[in-house]
């Protein structure tokens, strides 16, 4: 049976290449149809913020890559609820369908996967 991988993305979308390169790991794994999940934690939740205008910083739209995840077999984006709350993001107006994970369940969630890559 294929080994599963969790990619934990902890960086804001405008911090250089970190968020993009985390997502690239997920997309590459999805292309091989591997069992793979993405968890946005800490500043990683800023990737979900609605109405982003990456063109003001001459950046590509990371949001489009997030939207592409289902095409690569990654149906849901997992998100730490307390990271969202701490950063003042409104859970009801995010740009993407997500699955919230409570703080008390984060450890169990991580332990569901064979491998973890945190970026």
């Amino acid at each position: 049976m294929a080994r599963s991988m969790l990619v934990i993305s902890r960086q804001a979308p405008w911090s250089g290449l970190a968020a993009r390169e985390a997502l690239d790991i997920a997309l590459a794994g999805g292309a091989f149809e591997l069992p793979l999940a993405l968890l946005l934690l800490d500043d990683g939740v800023f990737q979900l913020s609605a109405g982003q205008r990456p063109e003001s910083l001459e950046q590509k739209d990371l949001s489009a890559n997030l939207k592409a995840l289902p095409l690569f077999g990654i149906e849901t984006i997992h998100v730490a609820r307390d990271s969202l709350v701490q950063r003042g993001l409104d859970i009801d107006s995010l740009g993407h369908p997500i699955e919230l994970i409570e703080e008390s369940r984060l450890g169990d969630f991580i332990a569901r996967f064979d491998h973890v890559v945190t970026l």
């Binding site: 294929a2 080994r3 991988m5 290449l17 970190a18 390169e21 690239d24 790991i25 590459a28 794994g29 292309a31 091989f32 591997l34 064979d114 491998h115 973890v116 890559v117 945190t118 970026l119």
Partner: protein
């Protein structure tokens, strides 16, 4: 056990030295290393152009020796390497850049190589900048 070692930090980052010491200890403990994979800033560790002051450890050279001495499968993410200016002969020609600077022993390849190694190993251990 079978290990895959992923390195993300710059050549002179403490995490890059720690990854090497961990890899050496894994072999010494009778374990196997399926692959070493350099990603993000770590691709610079595979640059043949690094020049360390004489009284400092040359991390690029130390990794290169480890890879050669133990015949480690040593892969550098090609997308990360292009962005950061680490090119093999083929890429240097393709993009008409002055010269290849990938050190011997390392191979440029895709992120698929990280996943392939993850499929073959018991533990994937990642090391960052700190």
């Amino acid at each position: 056990m079978k290990f895959t070692i992923a390195v993300f930090g710059a050549p002179h980052a403490p995490g890059t030295r720690r990854a090497l010491r961990f890899a050496q200890a894994a072999l010494a403990g009778g374990h196997e290393i399926v692959r070493v994979f350099l990603y993000r800033e770590a691709v610079q560790t595979a640059s043949a152009n690094l020049v360390s002051p004489q009284d400092e450890t040359d991390m690029g050279r130390a990794w290169q020796r480890f890879v050669a001495d133990n015949q480690i499968d040593a892969v550098v993410c090609i997308a990360a390497a292009l962005r950061r200016g680490v090119l093999d002969t083929g890429e240097a020609q393709r993009y008409q850049r002055p010269a290849a600077n990938l050190a011997a022993g390392w191979a440029l390849s895709g992120l698929g190589q990280l996943h392939e190694a993850a499929q073959q190993c018991d533990r994937l251990v990642c090391f960052g900048d700190q």
